[in-house]
Symmetry: C2
Subunit: 450 residues, 2 copies
């Protein structure tokens, strides 16, 4: 192995195999740079489809690609399954839980996880959706809730099992709520004998004045309309002030309400990975409010031209002033850009400026229901849904030949079935904590229900 390493003129370490890290690696593939890509997991996760795993439409294997297989044709890339615990920018070292490596150039792309705004105790009550394990836990809770409702004989307790609250009206919350609404209204409709799943109460809570706040207002309105057709009750300008014992306390319009629900899902806050703090401490780089590392126009850190930060961990605001959003299409542009910067530098050339190409935003609500903001063009309904399907299929196919996902979608579309409803886990049967008081009726101010 030693001989082989010596053939390379430069060693680049990439931390993180998400969209930014993996796309950077691909651009460096078969170059004279030795690349080591480090990730805790052995797979890349296609996060935009994770909500489908959580709601039983897809299996984890459908949205995950083994990093080694994706990169196997690039003989200059070493993939390492390991956990990075520290970075030493002056010694040019990456410290692993069980070892260390030195680099010439470092790309940090470890993304973000969910964030409970200082209320970490809410995590147990209201799981978020960032990992495959999160998705399976949410799936477990959703389907166990329907099982429990089917067996429950006390009417108010049964209603509590059929009540779902989703906190956060961004794309993830909207997509989760839509998929849950479709489950309840369509997929599971004939599967139960004692309950009518379409009587489920699904509430989506958003602090701002509309859901999908980064979209044009008319698309937000359309999304809310689509959701209400799927029995999803949207509450905007409503803040969650507490989650405890299966009760969500909200405040909006100077009124405090309590919703008792056995299933509460979190889609509200995002926080940058902790390597951001490590970089801030070690290099003096600044972080923004969400903990993201504020980068220079070429994604390097001040005084450290050989450290790049890209993807959801980076705060890049050299365009129109607003930082670029933490979405896949941004990461897919930043990763390749910095890989090219490295290649140009090694050739002694001056790298070009980064130019962000806004490809628009897409959110799907259900079958034939979606919203698409493509800049000048805006779509909703079936057209938006078709665009969404083709965009996602294109990435999946280009990436790992996930043709299967296409078939699965086509199948689910025509049969209105879902194929991955299984409840799994080490203790898959009723490990759901039952909140004793949850059987009591909701206390809700008069005239408040919308």
């Amino acid at each position: 192995m030693a001989d082989r390493k010596n053939r390379y003129i430069h060693h680049a370490i990439i931390i993180g195999g998400g969209f930014a890290g993996l796309y950077a690696a691909k651009v460096l593939g078969n170059s004279p740079v030795k690349v080591t890509l480090i990730d805790k997991r052995n797979f890349h996760l296609f996060q935009p489809l994770l909500y489908q795993v959580a709601t039983g439409g897809l299996s984890p294997g459908d949205v995950a690609s083994p990093i080694r297989a994706v990169l196997s044709r690039y003989k200059n890339i070493w993939v390492m399954t390991a956990e990075v615990i520290d970075i030493d920018p002056n010694g040019q070292r990456v410290i692993l839980r069980d070892g260390e490596l030195t680099y010439d150039t470092l790309i940090v792309a470890t993304g973000a996880s969910h964030h409970y705004f200082g209320h970490d105790d809410w995590a147990q009550e209201a799981p978020g959706l960032k990992t495959v394990e999160d998705a399976l836990e949410i799936r477990r809770r959703i389907f166990l809730a329907f099982e429990a409702a089917e067996r429950e004989t006390a009417p108010d307790m049964r209603r509590a099992w059929m009540r779902f609250v989703i906190v956060g009206g961004g794309p993830t919350g909207v997509e989760l709520a839509g998929a849950l609404g479709e489950l309840a209204c369509t997929t599971l409709k004939n599967d139960f004998r004692n309950i009518n799943t379409s009587e489920s109460e699904i509430t989506l809570i958003e602090g701002l004045d509309r859901i999908l706040p980064t979209y044009p207002p008319q698309l937000s309105a359309k999304a809310q309309e689509d959701l209400s057709q799927l029995n999803v009750n949207v509450r905007t300008q409503t803040m969650v002030t507490d989650i405890r014992n299966g009760v969500v306390t909200t405040q909006g319009d100077n009124r405090i309400e309590q919703i008792k629900a056995q299933t509460i899902l979190w889609a509200a806050g995002v926080k940058a990975s902790s390597l951001g703090q490590v970089l801030a401490k070690e290099t003096g780089a600044k972080l923004d409010r969400a903990g993201r590392v504020i980068v220079q126009p070429d994604f390097t850190l001040p005084n450290y031209p050989n450290i790049f930060v890209v993807g959801d961990l980076a705060s890049y605001s050299h365009g129109d002033g607003k930082p670029l959003p933490g979405v896949a299409s941004v990461a897919m542009q930043e990763g390749p850009y910095v890989a090219n910067v490295i290649k140009e530098r090694l050739k002694g050339k001056t790298p070009p400026q980064f130019h962000y190409n806004n490809k628009g935003s897409l959110a799907v609500i259900g079958r034939n229901k979606a919203v698409a903001d493509l800049g000048r063009l805006r779509f909703d309904g079936f057209i938006a849904w078709l665009i969404w399907v083709f965009v996602h299929i294109r990435y999946l196919v280009e990436f790992d030949n996930k043709v299967l996902v296409l078939f699965q979608w086509a199948w689910n579309y025509f049969t209105r079935k879902r194929s991955a409803l299984l409840i799994t886990g080490n203790d898959p049967f009723p490990t759901l904590k039952v909140h004793k008081e949850v059987g009591k009726a909701i206390t809700m101010p008069q005239g408040k229900s919308t």
Copy 2:
């Protein structure tokens, strides 16, 4: 609901949603019998393909069908996700962990799990393959072992990570060994930089004088030949006497050997579900050596004509003297038979005798490699493999329209890829216990390796 129940003349409870229980339910579908099917899990598992989940070829969702969805069109069938802890045959009651039900007729079909012949402490070291969770745990161990080998620098330690032992040369052991051999020789060949996965040492241990002992000898020989092409070393007439700290101790030919391996898989023993013991205690029914309930020619228990036992839990030896084997095709015949007995009885007719139709046996070793024993016809190689594919596809499609599995296979066949290699779990990264001494070289008697 009470009104609806009163429409039914009879209440049959089925415990277990495996092949026997589910096929019984289907035959009772839309009959005047009210049916309650109880299972701990919310899905039926297509167990013959579970080894493909363990080796990364399929996702859990591909081999699991939600029981409710399969039975949703039969309005007389109630599905209940619950755990049965006791049976009261005189009171005609089934006791759940959290409730109880009364029945007119009971069908017990709770199957079997693995069995360590009194050495339950081996379970941690050598997981068996019966549940989805088992399969994901085995998958995790296999792929983490390759990851660890890639990072290991000490040659003997690296070799230990690349050493796999499978205990038990029946169909499950043979299929696991073959799939593992193919992973190492083909699928993963280009994915690693520091190791050559085709140098993995895979050993299959069988106590009898040949693998697949229930097959004709020439097919056993053919299977062993196929396995050796995939680098699997088969040792017959070899008993495992201990598994401890990552060392398998075997005894064969009056010689004791020790194999140090980080990954040990158990495919040796099967034991009937514990409801067999409950039935023996409560009804006086006899159990066979494997804990299976010895049933009468119509699958009822002596003195209890309204209790049927079918599937892997039943010991049925009213044919040529040998009990019917615990395989899917037997369960798929027993379940519908007893369902018909119930229907005939309710019509006042005498049910026909059970006639077992031996559909033969099939085991797959790898791509284009399988053995098929169809009675007078015996096949191996590509023809047997094609038969295997079509038989499995036929069941899957008939059952739950799992057309996807067909596509996935076709895809894997042409690309030689696998799509579900992801390592998952609550603590997915290196929770594998490292056996400290495992780095030492294998101690093996001279001239013993075959």
